[in-house]
Each structure stands twice: as structure tokens, then as C-alpha cells.
Symmetry: C2
Subunit: 95 residues, 2 copies
Amino acid sequence: MSDFKDLDPLLHSQLRLAVMSLLMGVQSAEFVYIKEKTGATAGNLSVQIDKLSNAGYIGVSKSFKGKKPVTSCSITKKGIEAFESYVNSLKTYLK
Amino acid sequence: MSDFKDLDPLLHSQLRLAVMSLLMGVQSAEFVYIKEKTGATAGNLSVQIDKLSNAGYIGVSKSFKGKKPVTSCSITKKGIEAFESYVNSLKTYLK
DNA sequence: GAATTAGGTTTATATTATAAACTACTTTAT
DNA sequence: ATAAAGTAGTTTATAATATAAACCTAATTC
């Protein structure tokens, strides 16, 4: 693509982009909170979080809040860089 | 999606977005020109142009330049509106 | 006149997104 | 005590999408 920069396919997905956008603004967020904010189904969110985690864009930690399992996600340095790079690439398409 | 606006799936595709972005800036553009500017393969471009055309986002006209077939594309009013709406929705993900 | 090039289109395949079904456990009602 | 319902996810199956490879037709070039 000569005039347009390639878009990281991992970020060029509505739900994954929403997750990353959300995590850009906070220290960490729980699975259920992300689910609500994005409106995603649990299954879809689970899959996409896995992908972001496998790419090293986010960190995932599982613990318990009382007796309930809690999955917490936070963006990594690599994830922040990828997000910023994606936004920059995207700009080549918007003007 | 509560915090994030849905992204038109037709535009949320690297190649189709590039085509639309390109057409936003010109009156019309030929297939071969778009192919060069986007770096796409002919087959892929053909398919994506079809989709944009079927959606009414672009108009496609076929003619001859001397003896060679030429496919010209131009964005429609509907296409301009869709592109602008897409960009607005996208903004909910970028801040 | 056979091979190559130009300008595409069609079809097949690989990838992706999404939802439906399932697991494991906890809380509430009977 | 146990059955039913809810919470917090994961796994698997299916539908949709993107992409490339193969193909087609006509025009040049060797």
C-alpha cells in the first residue's frame, strides 16, 4: 500500500479496538466491566481478550473477589505502542 | 455497544476504506490508478469495488480508452455520508 | 501465429468474527 | 438438602470476510 499505511489486523477489529481504547484510559479493568462498556457477548469478549493477550498487547490476571472469579485486564507497553501506531496509520485514511 | 458507536462493516476494511478515502479526494478514479495507490491485487480490488458499488457507496462506469477497457469509480452522496459517519464513529474509539 | 501483456472477473481457500452451547461454581428458593 | 437460577467465564461450531490464485478476453509484441 503506497499511500496508505497498513493497519494492524489485531487492532482493526471493532471489539478488540474498543477493548484497547478502554484499557488505554485506565490502569486495569475487569472482564464484566469491559463486557458492559463494549456491549459484547461474553464468548466473543473471551476470544478477543485471548488474542490481545497472546499478542502481548494486554495482561490478564485471574483472581477471586470473595468467592467469585474475576478476570482483570491491563494494557502493556507493547499494547500502548501498537495502539498509538494503529491510530497514526489510520490517519492516512482519514484525510 | 454503549460507549462505542458501531462501525459500518463495509467501511471497516483496510482496502475498502482506502478506496473510499481515495475517492473522497477526487471526482473519479480508474481501476488501475486505485490499484496502484492502494497496492491491492486486481482480484481483491475487483471484489471490494463490487461491494462498495452494490452498497451504493460508489458508482462504477465501464468504457474504453482507445481499445482498452477502463473502469472508472466515483463516490456517491450516500458514500460520502457513510464515510463521514464512519469517521465520526471511529472517533469514539480514539480518545 | 505463438507468446506476452493489459485489464479485469470468478472461484477457491484461509482467516475472522460471532453466537450458541457448555463448564464450574455460587446463591437463592423450596 | 436439593433443585433452580445466576455469575463468570471458556470452548466449539458456524457464518461472514478477506485474500489470492486461477481464469477469461482482447490487444500487442516477437
